[in-house]
Amino acid sequence: MTTALTPSMLLQRERELIRRGVDRCPLPQFLMWTAPWFALLVFGCYAAWLCLSQGLFHTNMDNQYAFGLWIFLDLAVIALGAGAFFTGFLLYVARKQEMKAVINSAVVIGLVCYSGAVAVLMVDVGQPLRAWFTFWHPNVHSMLTEVTFCITAYLTVLLIEYLPVALKNRKLCRVTRYAVFEYELHRLMVVFALLGAFLSFFHQGSLGGLYGVLRGRPFAFREGFGIWPSTFFLFIVSAAAVGPSFIALTTWITEKLSGHRLVEGRVYDTLARISGKILLVYVALKAADTLVWMNATAPARGFAARGFYETQPFGTWILLAEIGVFGLLPGWLLVSRRARASRAVLLCGAALACAGVALNRFVMTIQTLALPTLPFERPAQYWPSWQEAGTFLAVIAFGVLVYSFSFRYLTLFPQERELAFGGEKE
Amino acid sequence: MDRGVLVFGAGFALAVAAGWLILPGVFYAKVEQPLAFSHEAHTQTGGMACEDCHGFRDDGSFAGIPTLEQCASCHAEAVGTTESERKFVEEYVKLGREPQWLVYSRQPDNAWFPHAPHVKAAGLPCESCHGDHGQSNSLRPLEVNRISGYSRDVMGRPSGPLGLRRAGGMRMDDCVRCHAGADLRHSCLDCHK
């Protein structure tokens, strides 16, 4: 028996993909929301295609500014995506049960951030088809090798972690095979949480090490411990610090956009408290590192630290902002019980912390490359081309779309159904 | 035995056989030389040595396949009675037309293979890479990699376990195998340009 598919039947079929007990806007409204993001994605893919098919002259990078907007984006989203590994660690290893409320969302955010970063890296390198060379002929002394290995392995871990979330879709979980597989996989999630934490530890660190080992760039170069420069550890701590903040922020944004309560209030509180504590540790380490660098590392290489901040627009303010406005301030806002009692203040703190880590990645990428090393050089100028910006925006759009679809069809916030009953008793 | 195992085994055998028989043709195209040529006739009957035709230039570079001029110094008129020689003299020598020989050993652009260090300095005989090409009676068709356009080998002979590998292969591994055996370790730019 075949019947024509009427629009109302189509809507009904679509509704049946959404779990019972949660409210989602009608399909047309959802499509309206996704349409501009799709448009942005298409535009960005066109920009990326230009770079892939014709060469990177489409960008405004050059032989002095060999890293640009894209590398900054990679570093920033990978730091923000740290919420995935850190939440997993808190839930499965440290047994913080509140994290159950956001773990699925954190996994999707991690997946989005890492896949976006890998995708944009593939546009950024000149010969993406040779990406496998790093695996085949690895130079184990290079920080980038460590990054490549860990990120691909971790992306695999994230995909595996995403599987149970995806298989819990209302239609998919009716397939007994999927449901049983999901159930058993979920029971062993602690293995992947540990693997994720282990891999993240190394690649977040290696991304910092990436700059710390640049002896040719005294602004970035740091002494370290063993094979790892101090930036290795700073990156790990800062990523762990902002991961929970970013989860809190995205959860709140999703709550506002969907118009539903998704997690209990104390989840925000826990996320903020953890984030704030680690952020303060980070600020202390960062300050100590800066002092050592200013007084020992840089002068030993013939560079006065003062000179690094004489290039406009990278004045001393940028260092002060990083440590003060985007470090100490959010750290205090998130740690102080009184301050974070207000949801607005808590979210401000979280936003400042996230902005702070992005600023740090910006400084490490862009300021490092802008500063001259040879005494007669002038500071380099760089402004991204529309192709670079387009590819950047495509990654953002990709992230929003994956998250939106996941939110609609999967259970990102297990408490949502409970909260819809008005209960907050757990 | 389980029927499934049998089916699997048969399928596996079929796949292996197909790969063995069909894949070389997929990867390599066979191209015939413009003229039949017998090395044997020159070396055995004519008593010539390799370097009589394939010599070095003054700057140390290897001259490779002889020019028409070199050939014509003996073959201004037909020396023997074969059909291919008659064709060579009439269609090439008399008309002054260079035969477009296909070179089995043309190297990729980024590889630098000098004959002098191998032949003169290390004293390797030609046969170590080119096999018994010098004693062959006919020219094998050139097997061209359909993607890269390079020859499959430099006319080596079967070697390796079961005789499946050819000496004088054109891959970097084939160079490396010999160099590693001679305990010569290199940097990339030694052989790449």
């Binding site: 019972r20 184990v140 392995a153 058993e184 996989l185 693997l195 409970e418 009953f421 | -």
Partner: protein, 274 residues
């Protein structure tokens, strides 16, 4: 990467680095392989359907997961962790030994305007089980279930011979272009399916002797019914324009007709479908 790749050397750095990398890959592979294996074992031992239900069970709101002993007030506030599989529950076993098992009675009870016969067992998914002769049982929707479903467009029953597993799918009711799954109250082989005029829907031959430890009976049913009406009010009253029940009012006879838009959501949630 591998010893046979050109340029590979057995240096300490390489051994440590690649050793860790391959270990990570191995752990990932082994874990996933183990999960596949474990799943296969569940299918072989017949636990797959129960596990499917168990995994879905934890998605249900707390209000839908109350322990039967919480309903009767013996264990206040207790939430079931065992997917309503009281046969495997140690707590339930303890209480049974203390003689807390309610007895199956006779007659019927009027609860909130609904007739609930007490001569049978009830499953949390609103199916009753009534022992018949020759070791057969009849399975049907209780009155609340019938009012929720109303007059279904179709009831999709499994063909005779199908083996039902308790808490897995028993049959589907179709309405308004969508379908709600009804949970099987007992294990057993389907013998026959009833027509629209029958008050039962399936006749099942469960393994003898009939195990009813996981089913509600007697006093429990009363408490449970009151809780279920409360739950319905919560679910139905959640969204604006939903069928709110006036206190003391009676549930309409056909929810699917009264509120076609919300039928799928309300009926599905009440019947513990996901």
């Amino acid at each position: 990467m591998f010893p046979w790749v050109y340029g590979f050397e057995w240096t300490a750095g390489r051994i440590v680095f690649l050793g860790i990398f391959f270990s990570v890959l191995l752990v990932m592979f082994l874990t996933v392989a183990f999960v596949f294996l474990k799943s296969a074992v569940h299918f072989r031992t017949g636990r797959a359907y129960f596990i499917q239900w168990k995994s879905l069970f934890h998605e249900l709101p707390r209000a839908s997961r109350a322990c039967r002993h919480a309903l009767t007030g013996h264990l206040p506030g207790r939430v079931c962790e065992g997917a309503f599989e009281c046969r495997e529950c140690s707590k339930h076993g303890e209480l049974l030994e203390q003689g807390r098992e309610a007895a199956i009675g006779a007659g019927a009870e009027e609860i909130m305007g609904m007739t609930v016969p007490l001569d049978r067992y009830y499953h949390r998914g609103h199916c009753w089980v009534k022992p018949l002769k020759k070791g057969l049982v009849a399975v049907g929707l209780d009155e609340l279930g019938r009012r929720l479903v109303g007059r279904p467009d179709a009831v999709e029953t499994p063909p005779p011979g199908t083996w039902l597993v308790a808490n897995s799918t028993a049959f589907w009711v179709k309405r308004n272009g969508t379908a709600v799954r009804v949970l099987a109250p007992v294990d057993g082989e389907v013998i026959a399916a009833g027509g629209p005029s029958d008050d039962w829907i399936l006749k099942v031959r469960p393994p003898a002797p009939l195990d009813t430890r996981h089913l509600l009976r007697g006093d429990e049913v009363r408490a449970w019914y009151r809780r279920e009406v409360e739950r319905l009010e919560l679910i139905a009253g959640r969204a604006d324009g939903a069928p709110a029940l006036a206190d003391g009012g009676e549930l309409c006879a056909d929810l699917g007709e009264a509120f076609p838009e919300r039928w799928d959501a309300v009926c599905g949630e009440m019947l513990l479908d996901t």
